[in-house]
Symmetry: D2
Subunit: 343 residues, 4 copies
C-alpha cells in the first residue's frame, strides 16, 4: 500500500520537515515538489537552503521542482506547507482538480466546511469532507491541522474536557523554527525575548474552540470554553513551551488531572507516538531541548501540574512545533484518512 504524495511549498522550513518525515514513510512515496516560479525546473537539492538536518534526503535531492498547479503535480495527496496568502489561492485549485489537500496553512482552518483535525482529538470532524465536497462541487477536498501552539495546547486540553473545563489561559515561549526560514534575525533574538508573534494569539484563542467542538453531521458547534493567549518568542530552536492555567466548573484534584493526561489513548497509525501525552514528575520538566523529540516529535510532554485554588490547575506543556505542530500533524491527518478509507 503506497500513496504518491507531493509537497506544496517544499523549500521552506515546514516543507523541509515534510520531506524529512516522508523519508522512509511506509505508506507514502514522494513524487512531486512544487515551489515558487523562480525555482521551477531546478533540482530541489540545488535550490533549497537545507537547515533541518545534516543532508538532504535522497528522495528529494534530485527532484525537479514543478509549478504549484494541479496539472504539473502527479500525486494522490498533496501536503501544503504554503504561507497563508498563497494557500488561499492554490489549495482550492488542487481540491477542485481532485486532490486530497492535507494542509498546514491557516487559510481555511476556520472555514465552516473545512475540517480542522487532530486525529487523537476530533477524528469525527472528517465528516465535514462530505459537506465540503457537496457544497463546493469539488472532486477533492481540503483538510487542515491547527497552528503549532494551538495543537500542543489542545492535545493537553482534550482529556480535561470531561472534568468540566471552562477557562484557559496560556503563555507561550515559542521556538525560532515556528517563524520559518530565514525567519527571526539572530540580532533580534540573541539575549532577548520578543513578546509578540503576529496573528498567533488570535489563532490560539479561536482554533481550540473548533477542535474541541461537536460535529453534528453538518457543522461544528464550537466548544463552550474561553481561551486567552499571550505569545512570546524565545531563543530556542525547536519546541514550544506553554504555561497553562485551566479553570473547571467544579473542584478538581491533581490526581484526576494526571490520570486524564495519562489515559489519553494513542491511535494505531505509522506516525502516531506510543504515548500521546508523557507526564513527567521531575520538578523542572518538560524542557524543549530534552523533550521535543519524544515519540519522534509527536508526543507532547506535560509537567509541573499544580493546584491553583479549588477549581483551577496550572501546568506546563511542551511539544515539537514543526513535527507535532506542523508537518507531522498533516501527515497524521493523511494517515487517519487512509485508515478511515476516506482516501
Amino acid at each position: 500500500m503506497r500513496y504518491s504524495v507531493g509537497v506544496l511549498g517544499a523549500t521552506g522550513m515546514v516543507g523541509q520537515k515534510f520531506i524529512q518525515l516522508l523519508d522512509g514513510h511506509p505508506w507514502f512515496k514522494l513524487t512531486s515538489l512544487a515551489a515558487s516560479e523562480r525555482r521551477i525546473g531546478k533540482k530541489y537539492g540545488e535550490e533549497v537552503d537545507w537547515v533541518v538536518s545534516r543532508d538532504i534526503p535522497e528522495i528529494a535531492r534530485d527532484v525537479e521542482m514543478v509549478p504549484m498547479d494541479p496539472k504539473y503535480v502527479d500525486a494522490d495527496i498533496v501536503f501544503s506547507a504554503l504561507p497563508s496568502g498563497i494557500a488561499r489561492e492554490v489549495e482550492p485549485k488542487f481540491a477542485e482538480a481532485g486532490f486530497v489537500v492535507a494542509s498546514n496553512a491557516s487559510a481555511y482552518r476556520m472555514a465552516e466546511d473545512v475540517p480542522l483535525v487532530i486525529p487523537e482529538v476530533n477524528p469525527d470532524h472528517l465528516g465535514l469532507i462530505e459537506v465540503q465536497k457537496r457544497k463546493r462541487g469539488w472532486d477533492g477536498f481540503i483538510v487542515t491541522n491547527p497552528n503549532c501552539t494551538a495543537i500542543v495546547l489542545v492535545l493537553s486540553l482534550k482529556p480535561l474536557m470531561d472534568l468540566g473545563l471552562q477557562n484557559v489561559r496560556v503563555a507561550s515561549m515559542q521556538a525560532l523554527s515556528g517563524a520559518g526560514y530565514p525567519g527571526v534575525p539572530s540580532l533580534a533574538i540573541t539575549d532577548n525575548v520578543i513578546p509578540f508573534i503576529k496573528g498567533e494569539e488570535e489563532k490560539v484563542e479561536e482554533e481550540p474552540l473548533k477542535l474541541l467542538g461537536r460535529f453534528d453531521g453538518e457543522r461544528v458547534k464550537f466548544a463552550n470554553i474561553k481561551v486567552s493567549a499571550s505569545c512570546h518568542r524565545v531563543p530556542v530552536i525547536d519546541g514550544h513551551t506553554e504555561a497553562v492555567w485551566v479553570e473547571f466548573n467544579r473542584s478538581v484534584d491533581i490526581d484526576e488531572v494526571k490520570r486524564a493526561f495519562e489515559s489519553f489513548e494513542p491511535l494505531d497509525l505509522p506516525t502516531s507516538p506510543e504515548k500521546v501525552i508523557i507526564v513527567r514528575e521531575e520538578p523542572d520538566r518538560p524542557q524543549p531541548r530534552l523533550d521535543r523529540d519524544a515519540g519522534g516529535g509527536m508526543s507532547i510532554t506535560v509537567g509541573r501540574i499544580r493546584k491553583d485554588g479549588d477549581n483551577s490547575v496550572k501546568y506546563i506543556v511542551m511539544g515539537h512545533n514543526t513535527v507535532r505542530g506542523a508537518a507531522g500533524a498533516s501527515i497524521l491527518n493523511a494517515e487517519l484518512m487512509i485508515k478511515e478509507k476516506i482516501i
Copy 2:
C-alpha cells in the same frame, strides 16, 4: 551629606551590582566589603570573578574583605546581598549592633515586623521599623525589598489597585542573572527553557499581598487580591519579562489602564528614574535587551495592553532584575529612609 556603607556578600552577582551602583553615588561612600570566611583579609579585586562590567570599580578593587560580623564593619548602612540561609543568621546581628540593614535577601521579607518596601509603592510601611525596634529591642533594624520578579510585577499592579484589581496571573520569562553566579550552567539553558525556579512562584504569589497591603500603625493588612505565578528561565542575560493577566471587580477599558500606568509619579531620590513606568506603543515591546536599561535600569516598561473580556486586561511588563529587582531596590530603600529622616 555622605553616609558610609558596607556590602554583605560582596562577591556574588548582586554584591557586584551593589558596588557598581554605589560607584559615584552622591550620598553613599563604600567603606566595607564583607565576604565569606576564606576571603577575609584578601583584596576584593583579587578574589572576585567580576562579571557585571568591564572593570572592577576603583572604590572596591583594593578593599580588604572583612568578616560578616558587626565588629569588623565600619558603616552607617549595610546592604545585604546574602543568600537567604546566611542572611537569616547574619542580618539580625547587624541590626542588633545598631546598623541599618537594607536587605535584598528573602529571609525576613515576610516577617510581621519587617518592612517589605518599594519606595514608590508603600513607603509608609517603613513605619514598621518602630514596631520592629520596640519588639526586638534592637538599636538598628532590617528593611527589605522584594524578590526581583515580584518587584517588577508589583510596580505595574500598584496603579491598578484603584481600578478594583482582584486577580492576577503572571507567567515570567526570567533572566540568567537572577540565579546569581555561576548560577545556571550554559549546558542547561542553551537552546532551552527551564520551566521551574525553586521557591520563586511562592515569593511572587505572597510578597505582592504584603506590598500592596495597608499599614495600620502596628501591622500590615494584606491586600485582598490573589496572585498566581508560573516562573520560567530563558536564555537572556538581564531583564525579567512577565506576561500578566489582571481581573478587576468591574469593567475596565484600555485607556484608563494606560493612564494609570503613565500617571505613576516618580520620587525625588538619586536612584529614582524619571519615569517609573514607561508605556511603549510598539506591538513588540518591551524586550529585555532593548528596554532593560531604561531609567538606568530602574524604570519598568509595559506594553501590549490588551482587553481580555469585560473585566480583564492582559499586558507585558519587563524590568531589570538585578538593578530595579535587587541592588537598586535596596539602595532606593536606603535613599528613601534618609529622605524620610529615618536614618
Copy 3:
C-alpha cells in the same frame, strides 16, 4: 564649527550606527538621510527597524528620507553605509558633485587613487585625495575605511611593523552585526558556528597590505608582509575576536611586543579613544561582551600575548565591529580630514 552631514543607506545596521554616533557629535550636524527608492519621502522613524539601541535618536526620527542622488542631499560630508554594489554606482556621483564621501563600503577601498585610511595608522595616505581629484576631475572625493575584521587586525599590527613583521595568520570569530540586519538567521547560528563569510578572507588578506603600505606622493606601495585569514561567524552580537599569529624577521620577546602595543599614541579627535590599544593581563581577556565598548567602542583590546618559537608571537585582539570597524571608522576619518584642513 559644525559641518552638515548626510548618511547614505541610513536604515541598515551600519546606517543606524552612524546615526547613533552622530547624535551629540560636537562637529557634525545630521541634515540628510538617503535611502532606497521605496522609502523616499517617508519619515525615518516610521521606516527603520531600529535595533541598535532603545530609541531612535531625535536627530533622525522625523527626518524625511531623500533619494541617493546628490541633488537631494544637503550636506558637506556624506557617510556611506551602502552595500558594495550600490556604493559602486552612487559614491562617484556624490564625489563628482563635490561632496566629501567618507565610505564604509568596500567598493573603492582597493582602487589605486582612493585612500584607505585608519587615522592612527596611515593618515598620510590622505595625500591620495589630490591624485584622485586630479585623475578623475572631481570636485569632491572618496575616502574609505577598511573592512571591520581588517581594521581591528591592522590596529594591532601597526606597532609591530618596526619589529620586523613578516607573516600574519588570523582566525576570526565574528559577531552577528557584521552581517547587517536582518543578516544571519537565528536558526542558522543558534548552538552553532558558521566557518565561512563570503568575501571576508580576501578583504582581510588584501587591505592590510595597502593600509600598512607607504605613500610616495603618487601611489601606495603595498607593505611587504603576508596575511592569511580564516573567518568564522559565532553567536555574539557585537565584537570581532581574532586569534593572531605574527612572525618576525628576527627574534622578539613578549615585553617589546607589549611595549609596542601600549605606546600606540591616540589622536586628538572627538571620536578618538584615550587608548588605541588596551592590553589586558588577565588570562581570559579580551572578551567581546566585556571589552567591546572600551573607549566608546573605538579602542581595541589585546590579550594573551604568548611566545610561539623564537621569531613568532601569538595573541588575541578584539574590537567593536560596527563602531571601530564601521561607522566610527568613517567618522574618525572625517574628523581627521577636518583637522588636517582637507575639508
Copy 4:
C-alpha cells in the same frame, strides 16, 4: 562475546556519555558505576543530574554506585572519566589490581610507558602495554586517548603526514560540553567568546607529537612536526570547530590533500564510523550543529580546503568532542584491544 565494564567518574558529563554509548553496545555489559564518596550506595538515577539526553538509560538507572576502589568494582574493563587529579591516584590502583583501564583522563597520556592511542592513527602504540606491565609490575594496564581538541585535529593530520607535514597552526572554537557539567556559567558565555581554556593549548601542542610518533618496540619517538594552538570557547553545545593551517616540506595541491582525507580507511569495530573523515564541498561546512552527529559522532568532517601559498594549505575540521573526543574514543580503544586480543 560480552565483557563486563565499569565507569569511573560516572556522574559527570563524560561519565554520562560513556553510559549513553554503552547502552546497547554489542560487546560490553555495564556492571559497575564508581563515583565519589558521598554518592556511594545510592542509585545512579537518583544522584545524577542527567543532561545528555531525555532519559537515563535503564542499564544505569538503578545501579548502586560503588567506591573508586578495585575491590568494589566487578568488571573486565574500566572506563575512566575522572578529572586528571583524581585519575592520577585512582587509575594505577585499578591497573595494579589487574584491570584494563581505558582512560579519557589526561593524567598519564604523556607518560613514557602509557599508550596514547587513536585506533585509526597509531594502533601499534598498544605495544607499549607490554613495556608498561614489565616496568611497573602490574597485572593490568592503562591505555589513554587524547584530549578532545587534539583528537579531532590529529585525525585530520594523520593522512597528511605522508605529504611532508611540518608545521601546524590551529585556532579552536570549542563547545561548552568540553568543560563538563556544570562547567561554563551561562552568564559567562551568552553573547560572548572566552579566548582561553586552561591547559588546553599545551595538550593540543604536545599530544599530536606522540600520537603521530613512531613506536620502536620500547618507546615512542615523537613526530618531528610543530603544532601551535590558540583555544577559545564559544556558545555551542557539542562539537569542536578548528581552523587549521598546515605547512609541508614541499609544494602540495588541494586535490592530493582531499584525496588523502578521503582515502583514510575505517576500522572494522562496532563504534567505528563508516567514514573516518567526511569531506564536504559546500562553502560553509562543517558546522557543529549540522555535522557533529555524523557517523554516530565518530566521524570528523573537513571542509573549506584552500591553498595558502605554495607549501601550505588551510582547512576547517569539526568533530564531536564528547563522542569522538572523549567517551567514544575510550570505547573504540577498548574495542581495538579486544580485536587485537590484548584483552
